[in-house]
Symmetry: C2
Subunit: 281 residues, 2 copies
């Protein structure tokens, strides 16, 4: 069965007709059908302040969405429709954008991977800690140090993390449900529309990314398309560009997603491949 | 809408008829309908060795299941049906069982909370680390220590974690999908059936818990029932006991789940309540 990450709330046939009139109607119904989280206005103000500050300092600002998106199946719910996503792409991309001089708003799902800490996500932190003076220290109050044999890159990551924190270059915003995601994405787009073309959207958690262009018309928007069928990949990416008026679509195929992507713009297609060793890193 | 965590793969009406003939047929079809994970035999042998070792040392062994359970919606899948569960109950229960002299097999979902580290799950580890000799150390190779102002209980947790590891009292086994969960649960039940009534099952991730009694007929089995409607709670718990032949059902209601449970056995009902302060702890 073919599946399409970018439109995982609609069937394939629905997504084909999801053109502009439909988009506006979704936008209009957003507040009506999805409860507005109580903290949206506060978060929006925080994001606007962040954007203005970095714009004034000559920095561009990118909003990265990251992680899967849960949809509750009942009103008082214990069950969800979920999609797979550890948030690896979003978290690592945030680091690269910061290294390239951007300030980053990181709109990520609760418990998805996080910039800088993502490197240690597979390790149980307690396995990487030891008491000073060897194990089996008899008191509960000894000094606890990181065993850098277990976490060889921790000093470098910590240093960079502290620099980024010091420079206030990363604004993390968390969501859990689709409803929160939608309202926070809208708020972010509106907050960033004040800096016009200095804003970029990098939609690694791509549900309803079409709407962004309506909310922040001058921003540079990059979205993602994951297909299971390689033969329709370019066609779908091109159609997404046309329909959603994004500047670039990063497209790949499920089976080879860690080794191959093609970056599609209106006029260009650039293929990128990485080796197994790159993937390991 | 009423929902029932214990049977989240079936509708309410289906669950009513899920009596013994149905159970046997599910068991029979397990390997047929859910692919057997390649590592099941290896894990089963590990669990059997663990059980025999602790049985010989005079310890009882409890299998704890923990975390939500994903069900893939397609064969090559990016979408899942999921249920909410951080794994808090399973992870904290594991600590209490170990403190009470049990050895614990911890069958938990990937990324759910983990014994001892669960206390620090809301904290970004990099926020809790610092370089020796203050921040802003200029090299990448300095010593990294835990800031015990940020993690005041880390020394105690680390000490206990190291004792438990040293004593080999905790055997963690990880699953991601329903298919893995089912086969690993069956393997665990069979591995523990060798120690008969010295084995206990504590099914905090309760999907298809009915089957356990068939796989390990002499074990003591505790399962959980979460309802949204308080008026049917006891009736449902009692029916689960009758149908599944478990020894105890821990039942609670969604809205008050952190403050109230009732432990139902064939002859007794014991209510337990905790205050808001207890919940905070």
């Amino acid at each position: 069965m073919q599946s399409c990450y970018n439109t995982s709330l609609t069937t394939a046939s629905e997504s084909k007709v999801m053109a502009e009139p439909r988009i506006s109607s979704i936008d209009g119904k957003l507040a009506e059908e999805f409860a507005v989280p109580s903290h949206v206005e506060e978060v929006k103000e925080k994001m606007a302040t962040f954007a203005r500050h970095h714009d004034a300092a000559g920095r561009r600002v990118v909003l990265i969405t990251s992680g899967g998106t849960k949809v509750p199946l009942e009103s008082r719910t214990v069950r969800f429709l979920d999609n797979f996503s550890s948030g690896r792409r979003g978290a690592s991309s945030a680091e690269y954008f910061i290294d390239s001089g951007y300030a980053v708003i990181f709109l990520h799902r609760h418990r998805s991977l996080y910039p800088y800490t993502r490197m240690f996500s597979t390790i149980n932190m307690l396995d990487a800690l030891k008491f000073r003076g060897g194990e089996g220290a008899s008191s509960n109050s000894g000094e606890v140090v990181v065993n850098q044999q277990v976490l060889p890159n921790i000093a470098k990551a910590l240093k960079r993390y502290q620099e980024v924190k010091e420079g206030k270059l990363l604004l993390p915003i968390e969501f859990s449900t689709l409803s929160e995601y939608l309202h926070l994405l809208k708020a972010a787009a509106q907050a960033l529309s004040t800096i016009g073309s200095k804003a970029m959207f990098y939609l690694a958690a791509a549900i309803l990314s079409p709407l962004v262009k309506d909310w922040a018309p001058h921003a540079f928007v990059i979205s993602f398309k994951l297909e299971t069928d390689a033969t329709i990949l370019l066609d779908r990416a091109q159609r997404a560009l046309d329909t959603y008026r994004h500047q670039a679509v990063v497209a790949n195929v499920l089976d080879s997603r860690r080794g191959y992507v093609v970056v599609v713009t209106r006029d260009t297609q650039a293929e990128l491949m990485v080796t197994e060793e790159d993937v390991e890193e």
